[in-house]
Symmetry: D2
Subunit: 435 residues, 4 copies
């Protein structure tokens, strides 16, 4: 097949490479602990930002120069993009991709046509996957861009929209299943509200619960074995998004009895928009047994919207990989680069630079995090710090052997007047030695 | 008894009053719907900000001029403050107060002495309550200011601190019970973390669950009939507070099987620090049946910390009262002015101005909210907007009669291409007519 | 001419009107002090949001239903929009409008064609202005949406782009002059940077200075008597915009000797994105003699991007009108509704509701602010508070009669130990009586 | 002299050292370019956080365990702190310190006594400086903590407070001069406002101008050769601080004709609270020739107040050192650790860990930044990116040879349709190779 990108295959050349486009850290088959890098990281291409995003923003039009621009026929354009996507992934050694239905196939106001478009493109994808060995990390539907979803999808005030969204998810789940997708993601792009003046939040949240229940049932029905994931985001596009953060989503799932059916897909930039660190969100998901997958990007600490930048901050990536390793890995989830080029980075090779930046950042972070956990210095510190919970009154508390009265009696002779230092600065110094 | 404040009793004089210190809107016995204002609003004095707060901040020392300053003996100071508190409440017509143990009685490193101090001050308070008819909205303990709690109370790394906090809560609950308190509040001032590098969040959260479970058990044991409340706050003093917001707390309660034992005490300024509007938090609590009580203050939209200002914004107060009225009232909770004077407002009469500001703001908001609900204009709009859920496919969805397959079939012939307007600007115009 | 909007003329009907679309407060000819409302407020329609904005956002496509949609020929579409614009303004009684070149005439990559388009549409506008008496508050060029401006306009790294932007401003200023525009605005949509790694800020800022100097010179040359205005915004679309806020712009103008040639156009939502209150920005401009004009909208206190909502908050509007009245009015500037409908408000009559909301809010705010200043209660408080500066040592300081040595000697016997209260809560209570 | 700290002298041991308290990067005499590390970095101890700060916050009391606690006599305490300070600096190899008057000597409401206290402690400091060779980076007065300054110091509504503040600055400048201080800093802790309702901003800003003018005059008079510095901060403690950020301060200085008398002291955490990156503030000061000194700390990206953490983020420190090196160094300013331990880090050796963290971070950052500038990769990229400004139309624009008319003519044939990529991701990848 004719090459779309001028850029060739990106090779691992080690950290002293002088080649502009080369991996300096991501060496896919290098063993880190018991697994090769690629199996730890499970990198994935986001079809939307990479293949369809044009660089437009609310103040300006598209800037990105893509070789498939100008293909007028929608199906031909979709095919061209699929060619580009698989060439791109192959050149980068990406093992996975993620997509919304409308990323890979033409939208249509006629549902049957829409589904047919998707089926036809699924044929194309299936063939390319077979040829390349690239797999589907997750699929989803876009139920937020079309004006139909202006008031939400499953939380629309209009029941017909709920039905339509159901049809879209059904189809997208069918196709994800057919393509061997390992997960199916729900990001509620318009599942939120603009003003309480016109909103019945109780009904909307119940409907969201009903929708997800139907999704879990449908998954069973068709025998889809992939993991269902919910992706939290606190705001944008709506003023308040229902899936605000990990804690909110977990609480929601518990309320509707869905906690065994869904896990969380955590995006770094969504975490920080919610007022949390990325690692906080990962940690909360992990300790609740709900860490499903990751959208690996980063935001700008001074900006109040989703900038979806390629991840470059090693501190953030290391903190994330520590959580991933403590979780026993991220599979069947992965690290999906839900990241887009800055609008001024409009040339085709910038796409490669963005991915190499992200992949090298996380490869390096994996090695650092692995080393940190191997050395066990933070683990030991924490174990020592909490040692009072393994014996004596701490043990009794954990065993449910004491209540307020026993504790009050105990406290009378154990006034706990001296505390140990938390030693944050010391620990940050140690962390810096690993960076 | 000798008067402490020069300011006399504050009277309702109507909105055209020229008296500087008078109520223009709060007319305690005026009926609003089926209840007098005072029973809707259940205003409460916060003992800490009002009686002990000195106006110091991280960059400067105390400024407030209080007549009880200079009383050196701790118990004498506590008595003087109690005199001031009840005179103050009586002059303002406040029916309730709230306190932490250390607001009303001297702290001591000796637990027995500490408890004895509190008992002796409880005698004082009990007598004053009997004399004045003023009641206790809620009590609590301060388990965050003492250096003992530097790493948390029930979430401390040190089990002895958990025990000590248990002793404090036990005693504060005993006293709250004895004084006929209608609620007992948990604000986890240091229940959070500074850095994940030294923190075992899983253990800490489990311990928080254990602690609250013991509290619910102890309440049963002593026959305390008051409501237990958790007050969310997202950050400050710790970098991350576990009780981030209403959704987080509800999810936490569900996880530990505590959802029938606790409700939420929502503070306006904590809501906005969490990235929510105040009414969002009230709404989330209400629709989950968890709206317990309110800390009525306001923050500054440009500042990133808890400013605890007296509430003056009518929009915020009206939105809050709409939620309260829809909730069928706030009892057994109330509106506690967890508000402090700006540091430059250091004269005793500023305290009265602060409370009059807050009380008039909420009295006016109550009337406006009542009128809005009586007129039903927003309710009707919402009912009409969601009418598709009362019949046809919407009804079937709610009845669980359909799944994805039926909905997909339905959607094929019901493409939901036209949506009604949400009409936010129209509704905001209507709201403004009520302000 | 055939009517485009079904909505008829909006009349003033007083505050108890039951008509959904009527002015309840904006009574254009009612005298407030020495001027009719309309001359105080000088309301203006923003051509872009009102006539061309479609409601798309980064997560979804256009929703707005406009009667001129579907007009394929660009010039015909521009004419249709002009018809709509003047019908709309006439029906609302708007006296002014503001535009970017590309709002009123078709964009073109051919500069001569672009200019010709604008000239032809200027003919159309001129005729309509003559027919209706509607005037041009300000014109400007759009030098930020086209990909050419991806790295900035006058601050582009590419000198050809500077030249192109100059051509655009020249032409837009010519047309503004021809149409009797009372102001010309510079909003540096892409005058900022994404990362210091690739940016020469010193050169870019010097170039911005050069550009504005040329603009001032060109204004002189063509005899344009309108006011030149710079509109600050702190961020968005670029990570850092050079014209961050009023203080930054004033400092910039002083550096380049331009302070006598430009004033400031302050947008409410830009103020809050910069971490200021709206009134802070107005106040800073006013006390520096630089308050030029206002973009009257509002942001959402919980959202970190420019939401451009129609202004409804009376507190904000009153604070703004106090500054305007103290400024002796806003002319030759005005109140331009740089506001857009929420995406779900997609019907043509929502546009009317948005403007009525904004106009009534500011009309009411004008009356309140006028009353406040007539009563002089805050002025008197302030005068009394600062009275020490009118006599004694305060007077000497202001007269330059004393230095550190004299003041140190004075302080020895004047320790300033007692301060008066700032009485913020008292003052907020008074303010609330006016709302 | 008896040792106060158990910790011994901290040595440089290289990056593989296993000693908990050792420098791994800060090797004071190692040459980096043409200067030893210590002369590049000019590290300074902040007397306040290090010697007097107790770890209290608005929600809790002091936690820090300092060996000089319990010294009741104020002068004896001051002497004990001075002993500790110089032992601490000596053990860390800190060459500089910074202080407020009240950090080193007892506060007093009697001005003469206050000055006498300071003189007596200046004797002590002078002797210790002579013994150790440690120098004074800058002195200042605290004119914000005492209740006298509740409404500001030079911007107080009370002229007597202005006079008192003048007396304080005069004395602090005298002592700074006597001790050979290389700078004198103005941080306007309460120079701002809480509400416009009670504030005459125009008078307050003029008074601030008068105050700084007197300071510049007094400096001349006494022959103090040190640099005068203003430290911006946007908010906290007041709602709005006048010295919001670097651009605001520079604009202010220009307005009052003070731009040749003051430079800027930039604090990292203040930069981020103002919505800027640290390097933005440094860059703005540098390109205006106003970069004076640095308060080296860091904030928390999720917290909205001044956390004053010890700097550990290499990205931030590298970006800062690039600006410093481009500035030709920071002298006569320095890197003052305006940083405090987290409240749970309460042991004496935590202080050492905090400083070692900060010093190693900046030492490493210096080496990285030096290497980056030596390699010139970003400089070359930037030079190439802006090459159009060195010739042709760009050159003509910079030479003032063309105006709008010439540029419009030029643009007609130079439509600037193709832009180069800004290549941010590529550049971030390069930056990461240096980290």
């Amino acid at each position: 097949m004719e090459q779309i990108f001028e850029t060739g295959t990106i090779a691992y050349e080690g950290k002293d490479s002088q080649t502009p486009l080369a991996f300096r850290f991501y060496d896919r088959d290098r063993m880190v602990g018991d697994k090769p890098m690629k199996d730890h990281l499970r990198f994935s291409m986001s079809y939307w930002h990479t293949m369809t995003g044009g660089g437009d923003d609310p103040f300006g039009s598209a800037t990105m120069q893509r070789q498939w621009d100008g293909t007028a026929d929608p199906m031909a354009l979709s095919r061209k993009r699929a060619d580009a996507a698989f060439e791109f992934m192959t050149k980068l050694g990406l093992d996975y991709f993620c997509f919304h239905d409308v990323d890979v196939s033409p939208e249509s106001d006629d549902l049957a046509r829409r589904e047919d478009n998707l089926d036809r493109m699924a044929d194309v994808l299936e063939e390319k996957m077979a040829q390349t060995g690239i797999r589907l990390l997750w699929g989803t539907t876009n139920a937020f861009s079309h004006p139909r979803f202006v008031h939400g999808a499953s939380t629309s005030c209009n029941a017909d929209v709920f039905a339509y969204a159901a049809a879209q998810v059904k189809k997208a789940m069918d196709v994800t299943h057919r393509l061997g997708g390992e997960n199916y993601v729900f990001w509620g792009g318009r599942e939120g509200y603009e003003t309480l003046l016109n909103t019945d939040t109780a009904l909307e949240l119940d409907n969201l619960g009903r929708f997800l229940t139907m999704a879990a049932e449908y998954k069973e029905k068709i025998g889809f074995k992939g993991q269902l994931l919910i992706e939290p985001k606190p705001k944008e596009p709506t003023k308040h998004q229902y899936d605000f953060d990990t804690a909110t989503v977990i609480g929601f799932l518990r309320k509707y009895g869905l906690e065994d059916h869904f896990k969380i897909n955590i995006e770094a930039n969504h975490a920080t928009l919610a007022g949390h660190s990325f690692e906080h969100e990962l940690n909360m998901a992990r300790i609740n047994g709900m860490l499903g997958s990751i959208d690996a990007n980063q935001g700008d600490p001074q900006l109040g919207w989703d900038t979806d930048q390629f991840p470059s901050d090693l501190y953030m990536a290391v903190a994330a990989m520590i959580e991933v390793l403590k979780n026993g890995g991220i599979a069947p989830g992965g690290l999906n680069f839900d990241a887009k080029l800055r609008r001024p980075s409009m040339k085709p090779d910038d796409l490669f630079h963005g991915y190499v930046l992200g992949m090298d950042t996380y490869a390096r972070a994996l090695e650092i995090a692995h080393r940190i956990l191997e050395d066990g210095v933070f683990e030991e510190f924490v174990a020592r710090r909490y040692r009072s919970w393994t014996e004596g009154i701490g043990r009794q508390i954990r065993d449910g052997a004491v209540g307020f009265e026993e504790l009050a009696a105990y406290a009378r002779t154990n006034p706990a007047l001296d505390q140990e230092s938390g030693r944050q600065e010391y620990l940050e110094g140690i962390l810096n030695r690993y960076i």
